[in-house]
């Protein structure tokens, strides 16, 4: 496949009006922002969320004589082709989820990647006091602050029928307390945003240069307008507008950001198919994973999220088993003695393992230089499969079923099953993730629940 460059649709607007549905341009430019062949490609980070807990006994691998000689469980069996690239963690406790406002789903969801309690609010759950959203930044955004500074998109949050509830149940990722990043559930809209509006390779045409200059003039004035307004505002209002302003400034710094052509950066097709209705769930998921992998292969972003459903999601997994006729969350409340439901929930989580494996395989299909010579994008990436609960019917937050995958550019030794003392705070894992991605964190989330990096990881 030829390297390519995508055209900013506005370039083609010219004076003639809005261009619609522009084709990709196969571009003749030389590879841009060329990396020395010897240097490793950048590190990437991905959240992969599935909800409502797992069936832990069917999830937990069987330990072998060493951490690297383990036998995959029934649910994780689909990961066999990539077993050497994963790390399965047993013993993680979400301590923050045991504290603060909200019910178990809400607390689990909001603290899963933030490691801190929810803020109080108006959303009433099944127990606890009413809660708002998460109480701090999520680990992917902390990582994006490190590795997402120069790319066209700081991060991409892609959803698969996550609902539009606008509550803590619906968000994986946060830039700060109460500042969620809503996932985009529409693959066509994601495609349009990421690929029809981006430049891959160097800016070498005057139309593009003029567009960047225009945008700079406009955003400079927008920023100045915020400055004019600031003195008139009270503290609460000012903090809101300051957050908005920070995002405008961030946009401005990325105006000249372009993607990088490379062996794995290929022209994706506009996602096609039916993306509406319960039955389209698998198709939406595949399209979103494909788009995220390609956005990363073209270095348009280095941080992403794939969020399946929402916490308390009610997808009906008819494609897994045609006799399933109830929502996922409703089923997750059934008791352990209900063998039929336990079997179906096992199959649902096994299906999610298949999707996780698909993502890993797609990342591994992109050849890339690594710290140790030629490898794949998976070697430079960490993917974290997370769930807001451990056991659905108990609404428990320990042990949390975490699976990591990818070599983190050499910072993560994979192919291991690691058993930690129960009650090891998962905040420690979040610290380690930041450090694998080049950070120097000593704590993350609520420091009361963190004792430093996860030892041995």
């Amino acid at each position: 496949m030829k390297p390519f460059r995508l055209s900013r649709r506005a370039v083609l607007r010219g004076a003639g009006g809005i261009a619609i549905g522009l084709p990709f341009l196969e571009i003749m430019s030389p590879p841009g922002r060329a990396r020395a062949a010897a240097s490793a490609a950048p590190k990437r980070y991905i959240n992969f969320f599935s909800p409502n807990g797992t069936i832990y006994p069917a999830w937990l691998p069987t330990a072998g004589t060493s951490p690297s000689s383990f036998t995959l469980s029934r649910i994780l069996a689909p990961l066999a082709p990539n077993q050497k690239d994963i790390v399965v963690l047993d013993g993680m406790t979400n301590v923050a989820a045991k504290n603060g406002p909200g019910d178990d789903h809400m607390r689990g969801m909001g603290s899963m990647l933030t490691g801190i309690e929810l803020v109080p609010g108006s959303t009433v759950g099944g127990s606890g006091t009413p809660a708002g959203l998460a109480g701090g930044i999520s680990v992917d955004q902390a990582i994006a602050n490190q590795i997402g500074k120069t790319t066209k998109f700081k991060s991409l949050e892609l959803g698969v029928q996550t609902g539009s509830a606008g509550t803590v149940w619906g968000y994986t990722s946060y830039t700060a307390a109460s500042q969620p990043l809503p996932p985009n559930n529409d693959p066509v809209a994601v495609f349009t945003r990421v690929f029809s509006d981006s430049q891959i390779g160097p800016v070498d045409n005057s139309a593009m240069l003029r567009l960047i200059a225009e945008r700079k003039s406009v955003l400079d004035a927008v920023i100045a307008n915020y400055a004019q307004l600031g003195p008139k505002l009270g503290a609460f209002d000012k903090s809101k507008l300051d957050a908005h302003l920070a995002n405008v400034r961030d946009l401005e710094t990325r105006l000249s950001a372009v993607g990088v052509t490379g062996a794995g950066c290929m022209k994706p097709a506009m996602p096609a198919g039916n993306f509406k209705g319960n039955a389209s769930f698998p198709a939406v998921g595949k399209a979103q994973m494909d788009l995220l992998v390609m956005a990363m292969a073209c270095d348009l972003t280095r941080v992403g999220t794939i969020q399946w459903e929402m916490s308390v999601g009610q997808a009906q997994f008819t494609w897994v088993d045609p006799t399933i006729n109830r929502g996922h969350h409703d089923m997750s409340h059934d008791g352990d003695s209900n063998a039929d439901t336990m079997e179906k929930l096992t199959k649902i989580n096994l299906w999610y393992a298949q999707q996780f494996n698909y993502l890993l395989t797609a990342l591994a299909a992109v050849p890339e230089p690594t710290a140790n010579g030629m490898g794949t994008m998976l070697d430079n990436t960490v993917v974290v499969w997370c769930n807001e609960l451990s056991k659905g019917n108990a609404h428990s937050h320990a042990p949390q079923p975490f699976v990591l995958a990818g070599g983190a550019g050499g910072a993560l030794q994979t192919g291991r099953f690691m058993q930690f003392a129960s009650s090891t705070p998962h905040n420690n894992l979040l610290v380690s993730l930041i450090n694998m991605m080049g950070g120097t964190a000593t704590t993350f989330g609520n420091p009361m629940y963190c004792t430093g990096p996860l030892s041995g990881l």
Binding site: V124, S127, R215, V218, A221, N247, V248, L251, V312, D334
Partner: protein, 546 residues
């Protein structure tokens, strides 16, 4: 809450003039689309594609919640470019009233900035506002005049003066009241001031239209005619006759009653053989048209929602329901005489949305009534509680299968508030069709309303009887008032709002609970007419404000 008499309301409001807290309000995505339509003259649905808002207290327009994520900032940029390009391409003549070739590029550019800027910022530009926009125009005019205009529009559409409603209020004077604020949202004591006329124009237009002011409101603001309750009430009456008010009320109904979800309802085709996605879409249209008609054509009361003896159907939906005599694809207002239906809660939309894919759900139906109409929030099921409806049975009725909810103590606490309400709808199946029997047994549609006011509490038989009770219930009247307060003012009610709430309740009651009276009353409360002076950050003034 118990209803105050008009005299009691007057006494309460004489004692306090506290308008409660007021936050800067960012446009919702719907308000963005509406405002673009009115500002640029081009209908758009671009805002509809923006990421969903956080929902608080059931509405997506809570001022304290509305934030701008990185993705939204990017979409504002993208939308500004697309919309500005379209505007200068197709609509230049209506945007720019001068001729740059004869009058000069700079003169014409400044005219455009002053005129368009005033409409977009919804107030006259300050010298600093105009100067800033001029720098952008100058950057663009190097290419050509049109580019200068386009860049000004792109700038405005991303600026806080456009995207937010920022209010300062009139400068405080000696006679302004000073109130004690004890909730920490403002200094104590704090001065209370009226809004200036431009700010009032925007309050009126966004509360009643979900959009920017029209020329008449702007003219009234310029003439200083938006300062008194009488002037404001006159504008409100004018504005309620505009179709834009219908759109605003429709959005309230959509959010309050979850109407937009009806068209996505899916059913098990082996159980509900005639239900199709098309029928779901028609059901959504039915309820939306019905509510619009109740408010505007009938000048209906709250009770009309529940007891109107008609609905809106077209031929396919009428055939689905088994209503005879309707032809064509257009919806027609159709009497319900001789049918078992009456009011909104016997329409397919509510009945099928609040049901399972293969059966009814007394739980969901009861929960919906209690949460949306009685404003009583019910908790989610606690852990370890099986959320499994009793198994389908070829012999038992739903009521018989659900008996265990009331029998099991762990369930009964909450389900006694839901199930006896929801079981009253059992003569309608999970897809909204009437049924006299279930599994060969006659339906028992008796129900019971626990924990409610005197008009509502007690036994009833069937959905129609329940609706008649709901229509006369003081709890439902107070609940609708609260819902409108939250939606219109973009915040939750506080202790400081007792006078404003009482004003709404009194004016709503005066004409027998007409919905239009409640809408007009929204412009007559202390919360609407006044604001607390907010000392700006860094101001060195006294606690009383700048």
């Amino acid at each position: 809450m118990s209803m105050l008499t008009p005299a009691q309301t007057a006494a309460l409001c004489a004692a306090t003039i506290d308008p409660g807290p007021a936050f800067v309000r960012r446009m919702t995505h719907l308000e963005y689309d509406n405002t673009i339509r009115d500002l640029l003259g081009t209908p758009t649905m671009v805002g509809e594609q923006f990421p969903p808002e956080e929902v608080r207290l059931g509405f997506d327009n809570n001022a304290a919640a509305l934030s701008v994520s990185p993705g939204l900032a990017e979409q504002y940029l993208d939308a500004a470019e697309t919309l500005a390009t379209a505007a200068v391409t197709t609509n230049m003549a209506s945007l720019v009233s001068c001729d740059p070739t004869t009058q000069g590029v700079d003169v014409c550019g400044q005219q455009f900035i002053a005129a368009f800027g005033q409409r977009a910022y919804r107030r006259p530009l300050s010298a600093a506002d105009a100067a800033l926009l001029k720098t952008v125009f100058d950057a663009g005019k190097a290419t050509d005049f049109t580019t200068g205009v386009r860049l000004v529009i792109e700038t405005i559409l991303q600026s806080p003066q456009f995207l937010y409603r920022v209010e300062v209020g009139r400068a405080p004077v000696a006679g302004d009241p000073s109130i004690a604020v004890t909730d920490g949202s403002a200094p104590n004591p704090t001065k209370v001031v009226r809004l200036d006329d431009w700010e009032m124009a925007s309050r009126l237009s966004y509360v009643l239209w979900g959009s920017m002011p029209d020329d008449q409101l702007f003219a009234a603001a310029a003439a200083g005619k938006l300062s008194t309750e009488v002037d404001i009430a006159a504008q409100a009456q004018r504005m309620l006759k505009d179709p834009k008010a219908h759109d605003m009320v429709a959005d309230f109904h959509n959010q309050w009653l979850g109407l937009d979800v009806i068209s996505t309802v899916e059913k098990d085709p082996t159980v509900f053989k005639t239900f199709t996605p098309t029928i779901a879409g028609l059901m959504e249209q039915e309820t939306k048209m019905f509510l619009d008609d109740v408010v505007w054509n009938e000048n209906g009361t709250l009770a009309t929602i529940f007891t109107a003896p008609y609905t809106f159907v077209n031929a396919p939906l009428a055939q689905y329901y088994g209503i005879a005599g309707v032809t064509g694809s257009a919806f027609v207002k159709t009497p319900l005489d001789g049918t078992p239906r009456l009011g909104m809660l016997t329409q397919g939309g509510f009945l099928s949305e609040q049901a399972k894919t293969n059966q009814t759900s007394p739980v969901h139906r009861g929960k919906f009534v209690r949460e949306q109409f009685l404003c009583q929030q019910l908790p989610q099921p606690p852990p370890n509680l099986q959320i499994v409806p009793p198994s389908l049975s070829p012999t038992l009725t739903t009521r018989q299968r659900f008996a265990q909810h009331s029998a099991a103590a762990a369930c009964a606490g909450c389900h006694s508030l839901m199930d006896p309400l929801g079981l009253g709808f059992e003569t309608f199946d999970g897809a909204g069709l009437y049924r006299a029997t279930e599994n060969g047994q006659p339906i028992d549609a008796s129900g019971q309303v626990a924990n409610a006011d005197a008009e509502l509490a007690g036994p009833f038989n069937g959905a129609v009887e329940l609706e008649k009770k709901l229509g006369g219930s003081s709890t439902v009247q107070a609940c609708l008032t609260t819902q409108w307060f939250r939606y219109a003012y973009g915040r939750s009610e506080t202790d400081a709002d007792s006078c404003s709430m009482a004003t709404l309740a009194t004016k709503f009651a005066a004409g027998g609970y007409k919905m239009q009276d409640l809408l007009a009353a929204l412009t007559q409360t202390k919360a609407f007419l006044y604001r607390r002076v907010t000392p700006a950050v860094g101001s060195t003034g006294s606690a009383g404000g700048p």
